[in-house]
């Protein structure tokens, strides 16, 4: 093949991929749109545990007296952590990808995808990102209401660059979350008891990503270990940026680590997929 023909075919591939991308994203949108009522209800009701957490932490800080700092958090920072984390998780919950992938591997639905000329991981990524965009859009209103209601306690980044870094790190965190979840899902190629496995790892995923409570709360030695894991960079690191607990250089370094994790996890998923499909028995079908 001549070099120009090679570039030509590469270009065709790229165009085809982009076009496909748009189609798949449209499906993702339609899917999210079909359940918008459920989504709004869910949003209202997910605020119940949030309010409970806020009341609980208020009571804890009351008990500790004025000026109490737990793991370097004062009351407002702690409450803001929960508020912003909740909004973040609401807008971009990507962990359901592991259930989808596992199920499709287990009951043979994957066959349908293997027939199609699309990359399975990218296909799932498209669907997810469409729902993230949609979720973010739907979350705007409740988030605004919450921000106004909590204006006296909500801590916001002081500097413009912190807002930008927070946005970027949240975006990169979503990618990390997606890839981690994809890897957990793809493990169904090897793990026989995959539904039990998922149930087992999900709470750990939630805790490690800092969705349950700020990770500084756990004993120092354990904390250092956790910080070396990719989950920390899913939502805990963006929260650190948001609360202004990192200076400019530390923020940049963290963003760099996020990119490295994305590359590493992307590679891992690709490897898992390649080896998994070979092993795949196409049960059911």
């Amino acid at each position: 093949m001549s070099p120009s023909a090679a570039t030509g075919s590469l270009k065709r591939e790229a165009v085809r991929f982009l076009r496909l991308n748009r189609q798949v994203a449209a499906i993702g949108f339609a899917d999210a749109l079909a359940y918008r009522g459920t989504f709004m209800l869910e949003i209202i009701f997910t605020f119940i545990p949030l309010v409970t957490s806020l009341l609980l932490w208020s009571a804890i800080y009351r008990a500790g007296g004025a000026g109490l700092a737990i793991a370097g958090f004062d009351l407002n920072q702690m409450l803001s952590y929960y508020i912003v984390m909740n909004i973040l998780r609401l807008a971009a919950f990507v962990e359901d990808v592991q259930w989808t992938v596992t199920q499709q591997i287990k009951d043979g639905q994957l066959n349908a995808y293997l027939m199609r000329p699309v990359n399975y991981i990218l296909f799932q990524w498209d669907l997810r990102m469409a729902s993230v965009v949609f979720g973010t859009f739907l979350t705007l209103l409740p988030a605004a209401v919450l921000a106004v209601a909590a204006r006296h306690i909500l801590v916001v980044p002081a500097a413009g660059w912190q807002w930008a870094a927070f946005g970027l790190s949240a975006f990169l965190g979503i990618q990390i979350g997606f890839l981690l979840s994809m890897a957990v899902g793809l493990s169904a190629f090897w793990v026989l008891e995959s539904s039990a496995f998922q149930q087992a790892v999900f709470p750990i995923q939630m805790m490690l990503s800092g969705s349950m409570f700020p990770l500084e709360l756990i004993p120092r030695k354990l904390f250092i270990v956790l910080k070396a894991l990719p989950w920390t960079y899913q939502s805990y690191f963006p929260m650190q940026v948001y609360l202004g607990r990192l200076d400019f250089r530390a923020t940049l370094a963290g963003l760099g680590v996020q990119v490295l994790w994305i590359l590493a996890l992307g590679g891992l998923c690709w490897l898992m997929w390649r080896n998994g499909v070979r092993k795949y028995g196409a049960v059911g079908g």
């Binding site: 459920t38 209800l41 119940i48 009351r62 008990a63 737990i70 087992a200 709470p203 004993p219």
Partner: protein
């Protein structure tokens, strides 16, 4: 009544046999089902390394509450949850016909048909943890307190069941309404120390939407902090809700028209 209890026994036995067919899966779930509980305890342990009490509750009292919450929810999950989650689907597909035809109370049958033994170990861990807390509390152990505690645990499970049952009954009108997942969020209210809530909200959660009766009352009964009028209210509301759930179910059944075929 006796007949229903005997039937319940047979149904439970039947479910154990089914469960044992998938032993490995069962074993893993047994090992991992208490993760949420462990994480919850861990969080409170860390909190109590910074403060000595939360809204008047000491460390082991809060632990006791967390353990009770785990046990109450565990019993509910074992006996009822799977059944209630199936109700909307049962109505949608017309499968309800089969339940209506059986010569037993229909509410009983659709509520107790399937038991989920995956939650049993978690429940037992909850009770073991409570026992440990009681030792650590160094409160004088007394049989009446224990009896009161157990009465309110049963009371709590029953009340929780009736609230959930009424919610899923609503799916006779709205078939796509997944009441369970929404109520699930509400339970987070009931598992907290009651005193963290502002007075108004606490009143609502005691009298209007009695989530506090479910987990807080057993603990308070054991710690001898439950005034008599509240104790009576807790028992009365459960009986009333049980009667209401039966009436509401019969009322809703009139709308059932056996889908498809």
């Amino acid at each position: 009544m006796i007949r229903h209890l005997r039937l319940w026994g047979a149904l439970l036995y039947n479910c154990i046999l089914r469960e044992m067919m998938f032993r490995a899966n069962f074993a893993i779930i047994v090992l991992t089902s208490s993760w949420w509980f462990v994480l919850n305890v861990l969080m409170f342990a860390v909190i109590f390394s910074h403060v000595t009490e939360i809204a008047g509750w000491t460390k082991y009292e809060v632990f006791f509450l967390v353990g009770t919450g785990n046990a109450v929810m565990g019993i509910f999950e074992t006996l009822f949850m799977m059944n209630l989650m199936r109700v909307p689907e049962t109505i949608r597909t017309g499968e309800m016909d089969f339940y209506l035809l059986k010569p037993v109370n229909t509410q009983f049958l659709i509520s107790a048909r399937y038991a989920d033994f995956e939650a049993v170990p978690n429940t037992l861990i909850g009770f073991a943890f409570m026992a440990w807390c009681v030792v650590k509390l160094k409160a004088a152990f007394s049989l009446p307190a224990l009896a009161a505690f157990l009465v309110f645990v049963v009371n709590g499970v029953t009340l929780y069941y009736t609230i959930m049952f009424v919610s899923v009954t609503i799916s006779f009108w709205f078939m796509r309404f997944h009441a369970m997942s929404i109520w699930w969020q509400l339970t987070s209210l009931g598992r907290q120390p009651a005193e963290i809530f502002p007075a108004g909200l606490k009143f609502v959660l005691t009298y209007c939407l009695p989530m506090l009766v479910i987990v807080n009352f057993p603990v308070k009964a054991y710690l001898n902090r439950l005034p008599l009028h509240l104790a009576l209210w807790g028992l009365a509301v459960t009986v009333a809700m049980l009667a209401f759930s039966q009436w509401f179910f019969r009322f809703a059944l009139r709308r059932y028209r056996s889908a498809s075929s």
